[in-house]
């Protein structure tokens, strides 16, 4: 191993005060990290290889082995013929439900977050700090505390068991995060830009539309990714407020795995889990940096 670790840096070269034994330490370091990495990758590896095996190969063989006979049948079954609701529809209609839920929920909550962040940072009014604190604390509450009144509200609004109802719920409890993200971003926004736009006669919407939003790409990406991941993965509200026609993918997957009577089709379960996990995994792989930033900024999600 070349001595790249002895390069100048903030606190870089600790770990090797002496020159002897450096290589042994480095080998142990990489060995440990490698073992940990394998442990972290193992569950997804198991899901992938076993989603490509016939069922009897899982029963007689072992979960860690590569498939003998490769097959994509479990994926086809999970996607279009597995029994989840009354009809053997596979996960497809629920996958579509999740998109019908995520697109409006993410769009609306992000727009509201931008608007709230703008108003809370650029305007002064009585109670604004208290209001922000109230919004902030709302992201910490255990959602069990709102389940009963929310179920009654959705019933009154005739939104119980609909995707629209879930959009509403996810927007309401997403506002806290999106407002937090945009508020912190706009609080650090250069004041001169806004002031000079105002001197040029820009009104409320021009400042937002021509000055703030065009310079908000990073925080918009962070917010959209955060909201997409949270809403796509959400389970408690979905399990409480949806029915067979409106289940999102998380509830459908749980039904597939936990309520299957008769033969347990492990390979189909693994394929189904991957179907449910792929959209957020893709987003993570394509935009890891923004995902981590959102996680750090909104690290209160349970």
């Amino acid at each position: 191993m070349p001595d790249m670790h002895v390069a100048a840096g903030a606190i870089a070269p600790i770990g090797h005060g002496s020159t002897t034994g450096v290589d042994v330490e480095r080998i142990a370091l990489y060995g440990l990290l490698g073992v940990m990495a394998l442990l972290f990758l193992m569950p997804v590896y198991v899901m992938v290889v076993n989603s490509l095996k016939p069922l009897d190969e899982i029963r007689t063989g072992n979960l860690l082995a590569f498939p003998h006979h490769w097959t994509i049948q479990p994926w086809l079954t999970a996607w279009s013929t597995a029994q989840i609701g009354v009809q053997p529809t596979g996960l497809r209609p629920y996958f579509i439900n999740s998109f019908l839920l995520v697109v409006p929920a993410v769009t609306i909550s992000t727009l509201l977050g931008a608007l709230n962040g703008y108003i809370l940072t650029q305007f002064r009014f009585r109670g604004s700090h208290l209001l922000f604190a109230a919004i902030l604390f709302s992201v910490f509450i255990p959602f069990q505390i709102v389940l009963i009144p929310m179920a009654m509200t959705l019933g009154l609004l005739r939104l119980a068991g609909t995707v629209t109802g879930l959009v509403f719920v996810n927007v309401v409890y997403g506002i806290g995060f999106t407002t937090l993200f945009f508020r912190n971003y706009y609080a650090a926004f250069p004041v001169e830009l806004i002031r000079s736009a105002r001197i040029d006669g820009a009104g409320f919407f021009s400042v937002l539309g021509r000055v703030l939003l065009p310079n908000s790409a990073p925080i918009i990406i962070v917010t959209v990714i955060w909201q997409f991941t949270s809403v796509w993965n959400e389970f408690l509200f979905a399990a409480s407020f949806s029915d067979f026609s409106s289940f999102p993918i998380t509830v459908a997957l749980n039904n597939l795995v936990n309520s299957s009577t008769g033969v347990k089709e492990y390979n189909v379960h693994f394929a189904g889990a991957l179907v449910a996990g792929l959209p957020t995994l893709m987003v993570y792989l394509l935009s890891g940096k923004y995902f981590v930033r959102g996680l750090m900024a909104g690290s209160v999600k349970g």
Binding site: Y30, V44, V146, I148, V257, L274, S299
Partner: protein, 288 residues
């Protein structure tokens, strides 16, 4: 700029939704917990009877005891492992981004997805026990998930796997922000690497330890999805948590007042952890 009519008007829908659907609903649930609500809400106030029944219930005691075991182990292991990984990654290693991505990717997945993977991995009939035996290790036994006293530890394993990368990312951000002068001074004085970490670096991570504790503790109390996907509360009721208890009593056992009371206790515990932390952070932000 002082807010005119328009900004206040445009802020009001969000303010209204949060005030009603968070704080209004909290008050409503607190109210229900003092009534005799069963399948449908009832509005007769009967005092703290639900709370008295709740704390005497065996299922509630099991749920609380499980939460205690789960929270202590989850916070302790995910915290320690996350700090360890952050220190390992902070040694100017190659492929740092690849390692970070591998440790963090579980956070992008739904707990229902990872719960499914772990459910079958930990299942003795098909998972690790079955697999290692078929590879020739005939005496290998790992059936915790089917054993009432041990199944809660399976929830810990899956939750630690899911969250450790996140703790690592928090600590790594902290390590990168450490005052390098003190570290260099310690090194000039001939301190060993382990001493530098113990005496200089880790003490400076104090605020991050507090944040990580608050976040992990609140995650532990809210944990619901993972238990449902992994064990569905079983075997029997041996992996129930207060979140599972609340759902079961409210929606399947028609004991709404008991369910409401249990969610109020969950909120109180989270509030007791989060509010002091939040107030301190806000004060710090104002003084800065």
């Amino acid at each position: 700029m002082k807010a005119g009519f328009l900004p206040k008007l445009l802020l009001s829908p969000s303010a209204f939704l949060v005030l009603i659907c968070v704080y209004g609903y909290i008050m409503f649930t607190v109210y229900l917990s003092f009534t005799t609500s069963t399948m449908l809400p009832a509005y007769d106030l009967v005092g703290p009877a639900s709370y008295q029944r709740l704390v005497g219930m065996y299922n509630w005691q099991v749920s609380v005891a499980n939460l205690a075991i789960f929270a202590v182990l989850f916070i302790g292991i995910a915290g320690t492992l996350g700090l360890t990984l952050a220190i390992l990654i902070d040694q100017k290693i190659r492929a740092e981004n690849a390692f970070r991505s591998i440790f963090l990717y579980p956070m992008a997945l739904s707990l229902i997805v990872t719960g499914t993977a772990w459910k079958w991995l930990l299942d003795p009939g098909v998972g690790l026990e079955h697999s290692l035996r078929s590879l020739g290790w005939e005496s290998f036994r790992f059936g915790w998930i089917k054993t009432s006293e041990l199944a809660i530890y399976c929830v810990v394993i899956a939750a630690v796997w899911q969250t450790t990368g996140f703790v690592m990312a928090m600590f790594l951000a902290g390590l990168r922000g450490i005052d390098s002068e003190q570290v260099n001074a310690a090194r000039v004085d001939g301190a060993r690497a382990s001493q530098i970490y113990r005496r200089v670096i880790i003490p400076q991570l104090g605020p991050i330890v507090v944040s990580a504790f608050v976040i992990l503790a609140h995650m532990a109390i809210k944990s619901y999805d993972l238990v449902v996907a992994l064990t569905n509360g079983g075997p029997g009721r041996s992996t129930w948590l207060p979140s599972v208890f609340m759902y079961q009593y409210t929606f399947t056992r028609n004991e709404m007042a008991i369910g409401a009371a249990s969610s109020v206790l969950m909120l109180l515990v989270i509030g007791a952890i989060v509010l002091p932390y939040g107030l301190r952070e806000m004060r710090a932000a104002r003084d800065a």
